[in-house]
Amino acid sequence: MRKRRLSLIAGVALAGLTLAGCSPASESTDTANADQVEVFTWWASGSEKVGLDALVGVFNEQYPDVEFNNAAVAGGAGSNAKAALASRLEANNPPDTFQAHAGAELTDYVAAGQLQDLSSFYADNGLNEAFPATLIDQLTSDGKIYSVPSNIHRANVTWVNISVLEDAGIDPTVAPADMDAWIADLQKLKDSGVSTPLSLGTEWTQMQLLENVLIADLGAEDYSGLWDGTTPWDGPGVATAVDHYGQLLDFVNSDYVGLDWDAAMQLVLDGNAGYNVMGDWAEAAFAQAGQTYDTEYTTWATPGTDGIFDFLADSFTLPVGAPHETAAIDWLKTISSADGQKAFNIAKGSIPARTDAVAADYPAYQQTAIKSFSEDTVVSSLAHGAAAPGSWSADLSSAIGKFGSDRDGDALISAMVAAASSALG
């Protein structure tokens, strides 16, 4: 009797082990099949997945012999994927290509020697002409380019609720000329009874707002200089920006700390706030709420940043040691082609990196963005990995979050100076 119980327990335990061992591995790489490309992204749901599917459709048309192997990792807005990717790269088991934000976020990978230089790819495929010159500048580090952008988002967009502004006697069609003018308008809104003129959310949205203010107060060239050390962080330009940012914080919702960006945007959608500064993926929120451009809402370049396009881009790389390099290059060709970019961006709500895109194909907001991208000066977004590598932006994020609590401008500036010096060495 007792022996039976013992063997019963042992049997169940053994069965459990076997069952667990049988669970399928989550990453299936079939290196036997040479004509496949493993594409590693965090586009596992929502409009991003729709975009990826559209891209795959074009890829299958252009390269019918190559099989697409989807290695998307969900969760954490990419942080889970980045963690998984770091493990794979360290174990010398890279995917054929992986998604990353174009720009400085790639610095870590480049420094570790994990990415291949794509300058010749750009030359061979005419990308140096197809992409705007200022974008190529931002993508080039030490004379080399390490990724191919599939889509461009703009981060210096202010979303405006038309009726809230009109009720307070502000003209929603004309953007204020600079920060001071905008702050005056915000005050006007507040005086007219709107308790939250400007809505704001958690740390990265705060970082994005500060970046907009920095661009407005420093201008494109000096702002870009922050990231290579030519513009001092303790200079007068930054001091003005910090001061303006502090003033803006007086007009935001009291529960902004830890509030998701879409919950913050909801205040504008519901008419509880007049403005929100957000990247243009917010377009999806307005579309979903059934609002129409120039009827219920409109957009401007954030006051003071007119003529500047604050870019962030999803892009694809070519890792060193990619198992199927030819197939990976095929994939890169697709995403940089006119058809590929059109399919992807219409589905995802962003705009193509190519200047030969036909604006009429795209919805109303995107048309304004396309026009701006082709005419304006392009600068890199801090909040989205284009301007600064991961650890630098993490340090800044924490300092900005702290500023939200204690409003100590001097502490913020010294923290930013310290972050810059530890990042730039």
């Binding site: 942080s79 980045k82 963690a83 770091a86 790269l89 360290e90 870590d108 990978y109 420094a111 570790a112 020697g113 994990q114 308790s195 958690t202 740390e203 919702n253 009291s254 529960d255 700390v257 830890g258 509880n272 991961g390 650890s391 993490a394 994020s397 924490s398 979050g401 702290k402 939200g404 609590s405 204690d406």
Partner: protein
């Protein structure tokens, strides 16, 4: 105890897999962690040099880390006070035997079954900081009950914010402390209580001078368990606020540094956490060992 390999060989052999496994996965990995913390590997590149205690010195002088320690202390104090208080009160109330004691006990205990992630989903909403018109969660209920003055920013409060985060933790673990104390209460021999009653002691005096003193070993155990859980708190904070400055504790700071590929710094933070935990654990382990020896 009988001498001879034939007598102690088999038991030692039986427990040796555990010894070896823990030797590697606890002690070995701790050593590996300490080793990484003494290097300067702050990026994806595998090259690193030995830098001694440089990372520790830097961290202990860093405002951000000190702030996270402050948050941790605040959280721990409130968490311990809350669970001990409620656990004790519930156990005391249930000690004398009430009808449906089983139901009360089960209700107080069940939050323990829920994961911090799941409870974070609802507490995030309950502790929402919006006040007045846009209030939801607890603020809204205060408003409707006419207790509007109780509305506050919860975990957004500058100094006391972490006390709000302790609330879900208290909710989940008070039942467990209650079970421990109830065991303690029931463990006081009836004869002792009878004797005290016969000596004319009132119920209150009975509790104060007979029962409570017997509870001190339990209180100590509960204190140790609850405080070591509090040092580890990670899931709850990630689930309620994500990793932001206001609610940063060493454990979440470590997550941030690891995802920024700063291996040395995250190892340093982890080692400091271990040292803090050891302040509690080691005295307790020594005491356990001594009392075991005394009992042989």
């Amino acid at each position: 105890m009988r001498k001879g390999v034939r007598n102690w060989g088999p038991p030692l052999l039986l427990v040796s897999p555990t010894i070896i496994i823990l030797g590697i996965f606890v002690y070995g990995l701790i050593a590996a962690n300490i080793q990484v913390s003494t290097t300067n590997r702050h990026s994806l590149s595998p090259e690193s040099d030995f830098v001694g205690l440089e990372n520790y010195v830097a961290l202990l002088n860093e405002d951000r880390f000190l702030h996270s320690l402050f948050n941790l202390v605040m959280f721990t104090v409130v968490f311990i006070a809350g669970t001990m208080l409620f656990g004790f009160i519930w156990a005391w109330m249930l000690d004398k035997g009430v009808s449906a004691e089983g139901i009360f006990r089960s209700v107080y205990l069940f939050p323990m079954a829920i994961s911090f992630v799941a409870s974070g989903v609802v507490w995030r909403w309950l502790l929402n900081s919006a006040e007045g018109d846009r209030a939801s969660g607890l603020n809204r209920i205060f408003e409707s009950l006419g207790l509007g003055f109780l509305q506050n920013a919860w975990w957004n409060e500058p100094i006391w914010g972490m006390a709000a985060i302790a609330m879900p933790a208290i909710w989940q673990l008070s039942g467990y402390v209650m079970a421990l104390f109830l065991a303690g209460f029931r463990g006081v021999p009836q004869e002792l209580r009878e004797a005290a009653r016969m000596d004319g002691a009132s119920e209150w005096k009975l509790y104060r001078y007979v029962v409570f003193p017997q509870l001190s070993p339990i209180a100590l155990s509960a204190l140790i368990i609850v405080s070591h859980m509090s040092l580890k708190v990670f899931d709850l904070i990630m689930s309620i606020t994500g990793s932001i400055y206001q609610t940063e504790v060493p454990a979440t700071y470590m997550w941030v540094t690891l995802t920024s590929n700063d291996y040395a710094k995250s190892a340093t933070i982890a080692t400091i956490l271990l040292l803090l935990a050891s302040l509690f654990i080691i005295p307790y382990l020594i005491q356990t060992w001594r009392s075991e020896k005394a009992n042989r």
